[in-house]
């Protein structure tokens, strides 16, 4: 059994300095750090996260939002919610952050080769999905139909707006966006993201859904997929967020029922966690 004083554990708990190449404001409270790995490359899988350390302030778990095919550039998209994320948002080009990881289970991109992909994101939940979308586009022949559905509050809250528009113009994937409310300057769909599901017919026997957003959004989406479209629950994957500390399964800070989000997840088959979403205190 590992203990905290063993060298391997110490290595995993030691942040590595990554240089900040740029800080890009995405939305009013959301920004993306572009990071340069110290040895020029940082290997990870779609859906994995890192612990990002604002020196002297603290660490937060953040999903990687860049392409696995570009390991020399790591993008981490972050919403300002507390002291650490606000400190990260104040960084400038040339500053450094500490990085541990990558951690967590990835989206099952290998296991679902040959299937249709239904990728559904809500709000900033598009960020952890973006590496999976890049992977599907970069390995287009490995998958059948690829559909991206995205929902957010208003047109001003659309994350990666330009990129979504580029995807919407592609003929080899289907991308639909919806917002909760808009004025007449918006020419797209209005309504919750689950209403888009009915507009894209898919074969439930050959489709895998990757879903990321707040728990209520993932719950409602999974229910819609299972009850409204006959998708088997085991063909739905979700990614979970909890406040993490060690990220290596030692501290128990991110325990969710009998799971540790950091090592058992953060990507889970829906049946493993779906029943826990509505239980208070879990």
């Amino acid at each position: 059994m590992e203990t905290l004083t063993e060298p391997a554990v110490i290595d995993q708990m030691t942040p590595v300095p990554f240089r900040v190449r740029s800080v890009r404001e995405e939305l009013s409270h959301t920004f993306t750090l572009e990071l340069e790995p110290p040895n020029g490359s940082f290997e990870f899988l779609p859906g994995q996260f890192t612990m990002v350390y604002a020196f002297g302030i603290g660490e937060v778990p953040i999903s990687i939002s860049s392409s696995t095919a570009k390991p020399s550039t790591i993008l981490q998209t972050i919403r300002r919610t507390g002291a650490v994320t606000h400190a990260l948002g104040r960084l400038k080009s040339g500053d450094y952050v500490g990085i541990r990881g990558p951690y967590g289970t990835p989206w099952p991109m290998e296991a679902i080769k040959g299937r249709d992909l239904l990728i559904i994101g809500g709000g900033i939940g598009l960020a952890p999905l973006r590496p999976a979308i890049y992977h599907a586009m970069e390995n287009r022949d490995d998958y059948e139909r690829v559909v991206v559905l995205y929902g957010t509050r208003t047109p001003d809250d659309i994350l990666f707006h330009n990129e979504l528009q580029e995807w919407a113009e592609r003929t080899d994937i289907t991308t639909l966006i919806t917002v909760d409310a808009a004025d007449r300057s918006w020419n797209g769909a209005v309504g919750v993201v689950t209403r888009l599901i009915g507009r894209v017919g898919f074969d439930p026997m050959n489709t895998t859904a990757l879903v990321c957003g707040p728990e209520i959004m993932m719950t409602v989406t999974a229910e819609r997929l299972v009850e409204g479209s006959s998708l088997a629950p085991e063909n739905i994957y979700v990614t979970m967020e909890r406040n993490m500390k060690c990220a290596i399964g030692l501290c128990g800070h991110c325990q969710f029922g009998e799971k540790f989000i950091c090592t058992d997840g953060a990507v889970f088959p829906y049946p493993e966690v779906g029943g826990l979403f509505d239980i208070k205190g879990v």
Binding site: T152, D183, G198, M217
Partner: protein, 154 residues
């Protein structure tokens, strides 16, 4: 469209799926094809609800006047029904409807449609059940729009 073409068009529409040709024929008697250019106001909030619409193609925005501006609260698309204010008094629209893109629809005259449903109770009950499903689904979607549905993921 001829009446037979209307029957075929109704049969292909998701809302009427599974109805018998006989029932579709009764409904077709109250229907006519209609098209709207992008930007056309199909009906206005507070106006007389004198029709029901089945969207064949295109998108329609449901709008609510809020503080002097129009807020889109939902969009409807092909295969969906537009409007149920014609079903019950005072037969007024609760929202405005505007064509977002060129829209092709089947328009049912409200008086004729109510007469068909009143005279054919089984069909009337079936259509009411289907409208109840539409209303429930849109109410559920509206409830989700009221909560912080996209709030806390990262």
């Amino acid at each position: 469209m001829t009446e037979q073409e209307l029957v075929v068009a109704l049969g292909k529409h998701a809302f009427f799926e599974g109805l018998s040709d006989e029932d579709l024929s009764k409904l077709a008697g109250a229907a006519a094809e209609i098209e709207f250019e992008s930007g056309t106001v199909i009906f206005k909030e507070g106006g007389p609800a004198d029709a029901a619409f089945a969207i064949i193609s295109g998108s329609v925005a449901l709008e609510l006047g809020v503080g002097g501006r129009e807020l889109i609260i939902q969009t409807l698309h092909d295969g969906e029904m537009l409007g149920w204010g014609w079903l019950y008094p005072p037969f007024r629209w609760s929202f405005s409807a505007v064509a977002m893109h060129p829209v092709r629809m089947l328009r049912f005259d409200a008086t004729s449609l109510r007469a068909v449903l009143d005279d054919n109770c089984a069909l009337g009950y079936e259509v009411m059940k289907r409208f109840s499903g539409v209303m429930t689904s849109r109410l559920a979607a509206t409830r989700l729009q009221l909560v912080d549905f996209y709030g806390n993921a990262n």
